[in-house]
């Protein structure tokens, strides 16, 4: 079994600090292996942002849309397999209806230090091309230096009312 690499500096605490700084008050989630311990567990232990557990990722796209209309910022925390399962909802709700659906997406089984497009995992390799085909902005979050991308990405998503995907390339510590 491949050793899981929690890279120096990609701390869950730092990520959550950015998420809170971006004014996110709800996190909507199906557990993702990559972010389960470093992000979801600390989120579940707190109340801000409020965690809404969902059964399936496309529900979360609808919930985040409703929250956006209510002027509440939300983050959809899911695995890339759930993103792929939600393409139609993303197509209709996020893209065609131009709504700020912000997704934090764990890239399950991506090899640390390997670009998603070069991963041996088919499902990981196709994520970015699919996001590009749909016109959805995305950012790779894999090292400490990537963490400052998070708040501006969320801010821009709400400013432009367009979706964004933050792709988590390794397990945060």
């Amino acid at each position: 079994m491949e050793e899981r690499d929690t890279a120096d500096g990609l701390s869950g605490e730092s990520i959550l600090r950015e998420v809170r700084a971006a004014g996110v008050s709800f996190v909507v989630s199906v557990p993702d292996i990559t972010t389960s311990d470093g992000l979801l567990r600390p989120l579940a232990a707190g109340t801000d942002p409020r965690l809404i557990r969902i059964c399936k990722e496309d529900e979360g796209i609808g919930i985040c849309a409703g929250l956006a209309h209510a002027d509440k910022r939300a983050l959809l925390l899911i695995q890339h397999t759930g993103l792929l399962d939600s393409i139609n909802a993303l197509r209709g709700v996020a893209c065609e209806y131009e709504l700020p659906i912000c997704m934090m997406v764990g890239l399950l089984a991506k090899e640390p230090g390997v670009a998603p497009r070069q991963s041996k995992q088919y499902g990981v390799r196709i994520v970015e091309p699919i996001l590009e085909a749909m016109g959805i902005a995305y950012h790779e979050i894999e090292e400490a230096a990537d963490i400052p991308k998070i708040k501006p990405a969320i801010d821009e998503s709400y400013a432009r009312s367009r979706p964004v995907a933050l792709l988590i390339g390794r397990q945060p510590s």
Binding site: D58, L67, Y97
Partner: protein, 189 residues
């Protein structure tokens, strides 16, 4: 059995200007004729997601009642919503399902398990405590007001027949102007 439009007319009498209503597909076309109003939210983007949008609105705007007018075919596409909504438990969410046993918008084909599925049973098993079912118009007329004053989430099945031929202009439910009008109406308060 009651006609869907008859049931919706009963419901419309108890909806205020502040309520957010999310009607779905065939129900939406009836509702838009019966109750054209600024806070009708019809652009759900993908079938089955109306109740999910509704949950987001209910959580984000606890000062308003949020009322979903769902279809049985639509709900079948997102059954997990029953568990999610029961668990999140917003007190201002009211989920009505117009059960006519068909995918009316897609050619009138029967839903799977037609006549054998209990949507109230599914809702109770999912954790909903306030669950109702009506197939009789006078009975629904008597109870409608009280249902909308219960603490939510409240799940109600309306066993209905189709309202008949509809003129389906999908621009009325998906169009950009419609979506913007809803956004403006919600922000204006």
């Amino acid at each position: 059995m009651m006609r869907r439009d008859e049931a919706l007319r009963v419901l419309a009498r108890h909806i205020t200007d502040r309520d957010i209503v999310l009607p779905v597909y065939s129900t939406a076309f009836d509702w838009l004729d019966i109750a054209p109003r600024a806070l009708n939210y019809t652009a759900h983007g993908a079938m089955g997601l109306a109740s999910s949008h509704a949950l987001g609105l209910a959580l984000g705007r606890p000062d308003r009642r949020v009322i979903v007018l769902d279809g049985d075919g639509s709900l079948l596409m997102n059954l997990g919503t029953l568990v999610t909504c029961a668990a999140a438990a917003p007190p201002n969410l009211y989920h009505f399902v117009c059960e006519n046993g068909t995918y009316e918008a897609n050619g009138g084909h029967p839903i799977p398990g037609r006549g054998h599925v209990s949507f109230t049973g599914l809702a109770r098993a999912a954790g909903h405590r306030a669950v109702h079912e009506f197939s009789d118009l006078p009975n629904f007329e008597q109870q409608a007001a009280a249902i909308l004053t219960e603490t939510g989430p409240v799940f109600t099945v309306l066993k209905v027949t189709s309202s008949g031929e509809q003129e389906r202009d999908y621009g009325r439910i998906h169009g950009r102007a419609v979506r913007q009008a809803f956004k403006d109406a919600l922000k204006s308060d």
